[in-house]
């Protein structure tokens, strides 16, 4: 019998549950290795070679190389682990979180200063809030698309 996962109907949100954790084990453990300064140096010197030391999928490696955090999360990554890549790159949590919305750093920061993203329209898939699939990417990047 399938387990109850009531959180699957929230837009723009991936819950890091036991199944995601299983998919992302090596990806997240690679991230964890970046907590050591010597490993950060080796990764920065040759990212691809460092990634090839880990039994990650090719898709996971490409997502890391592209710093595509949404893709990393879809492939089992968790933000607290992925944050180690951000730390290696000198990025803050706000820069990392913002990168997943498509907004520029300034746009995301302004949204937060104005009180953050509203839950209105963003509680269930199928509503019309700014986090819904039909409104990606957000900010200037999305307006250019039209």
């Amino acid at each position: 019998m399938a387990l109850d996962k009531p959180y699957k109907d929230i837009p723009g949100t991936t819950i890091f549950d036991a199944d995601q954790s299983r998919l992302g084990y090596h990806l997240n453990q690679f991230c964890m290795s970046l907590m050591k300064a010597a490993n950060r140096e080796r990764f920065k010197a040759d990212e691809r070679a460092y990634l090839d030391e880990w039994p990650m999928t090719e898709d996971q490696k490409l997502a890391v190389l592209a710093r595509d955090l949404n893709r990393c999360i879809a492939l089992g990554g968790n933000i607290y682990f992925l944050a180690k890549i951000g730390a290696t790159d000198g990025k803050s949590f706000q820069q990392m979180a913002g990168s997943m919305t498509g907004m520029s750093e300034d746009e995301y920061r302004d949204m937060m200063i104005k009180g953050g993203r509203s839950a209105e329209g963003n509680r269930y898939i199928g509503e019309d809030g700014d986090a819904q699939p039909q409104h990606q990417p957000q900010g200037q990047a999305g307006r250019k698309k039209d």
């Binding site: 009531p6 959180y7 929230i10 837009p11 723009g12 949100t13 991936t14 819950i15 890091f16 549950d17 036991a18 954790s21 084990y25 997240n28 453990q29 991230c31 964890m32 970046l34 907590m35 300064a37 950060r40 955090l69 949404n70 999360i73 968790n78 933000i79 607290y80 682990f81 944050a83 180690k84 951000g86 730390a87 290696t88 803050s92 949590f93 706000q94 990392m96 979180a97 913002g98 997943m100 919305t101 498509g102 995301y108 949204m111 937060m112 200063i113 009180g115 953050g116 993203r117 509203s118 839950a119 963003n122 509680r123 269930y124 986090a131 699939p133 990606q136 957000q138």
Partner: protein
């Protein structure tokens, strides 16, 4: 006998730690936040505990995916500030209270909560940022601290109900310790925030404040809030709020005593990605 004198609740945003470490607390962005904790520091001076039992979560720092304990109690004599990837925070070593920690572990496990006993662990911003907010930046922390780490990273995390009941068991454990210690219990993390996906940046000021009201006046009701409500209304990382229920469940009124006094309440948006909430409740 030991006694829980008060409970303290606060968010533990890493950017707050960075603002302190980089000397940015006087920047216009940060002034309103730190102003909200000025009364808390004064309160802390006037109500110095002997021990702080500090409920927080590890953010992929001490615990990787190799092991994911749901509840872990730090029983060591000291805990080093962790290198989370940006270098260790320049804060004092955290001194533990192995005797009380071992006593609580023994009592709470016998009360059917399966704690993991941890004798070696570095502590991250989840633990050190709340200490800074309440104690400032001293050469040494004002008292020993028992770190109590809760898994809120890999879902499913413990339910609010289970956390609340665990708080009751911790209260019972503290009160059976045979030394006259004044113990504070802190619940940290939250409030609304989401750090991932296109919904990143979600903040829900109304929900956060309604939840604070409920935590104060109707803790049973707050404990009954299901996981999905936190995720939907307060963002995927808003689920950290279940940790506040451990502290709330340890208060006197839950065991039939008088309602606590609200010594301080503060709410501010934003600190980086997060709605910051803070409460101090005193047992009467």
């Amino acid at each position: 006998m030991a006694k829980i004198s008060a409970s303290v609740y606060t968010s533990h945003v890493p950017a707050i730690g960075a603002a302190i470490d980089l000397g940015k607390t006087a920047d216009p962005y940060w002034v309103p936040l730190f102003k909200g904790y000025e009364p808390s520091k004064e309160w802390m001076e006037a109500n110095r505990p002997d021990v702080i039992f500090l409920v927080y979560n590890d953010h992929a720092t001490a615990f990787s995916l190799e092991m994911i304990p749901t509840f872990a109690i730090g029983c060591a004599a000291e805990f080093q500030p962790a290198d989370e990837g940006w270098g260790p925070r320049p804060v004092p070593v955290v001194k533990g209270h192995p005797e009380l920690a071992a006593h609580i572990a023994q009592s709470v496990i016998q009360d059917d909560f399966d704690l993991t006993i941890v004798n070696k662990m570095d502590v991250d911003h989840g633990l050190t940022v709340p200490l800074n907010l309440l104690c400032g930046s001293p050469q040494e922390w004002p008292c020993p601290v028992i770190p109590f780490a809760v898994n809120v990273v890999q879902y499913p995390v413990p339910s609010g109900r289970r956390c609340y009941n665990l708080g009751k068991a911790i209260r019972k454990a503290v009160e059976s310790f045979d030394k006259p210690l004044k113990v504070q219990i802190w619940g940290t993390g939250g409030m609304s925030h989401q750090l991932q996906g296109p919904r990143a940046g979600l903040i829900n000021r109304e929900w956060d404040n309604a939840w604070l009201d409920k935590l104060i006046a109707d803790p049973e009701g707050a404990a009954a809030v299901p996981h999905i409500d936190y995720v939907r209304e307060a963002g995927s990382e808003g689920i950290e709020l279940v940790m506040w229920l451990i502290a709330r469940g340890a208060m006197d009124d839950v065991a039939g005593g008088p309602a606590p006094k609200v010594a301080h309440r503060f709410y501010h948006v934003p600190a980086s990605n997060t709605g910051v909430g803070h409460l101090i409740l005193e047992n009467q």
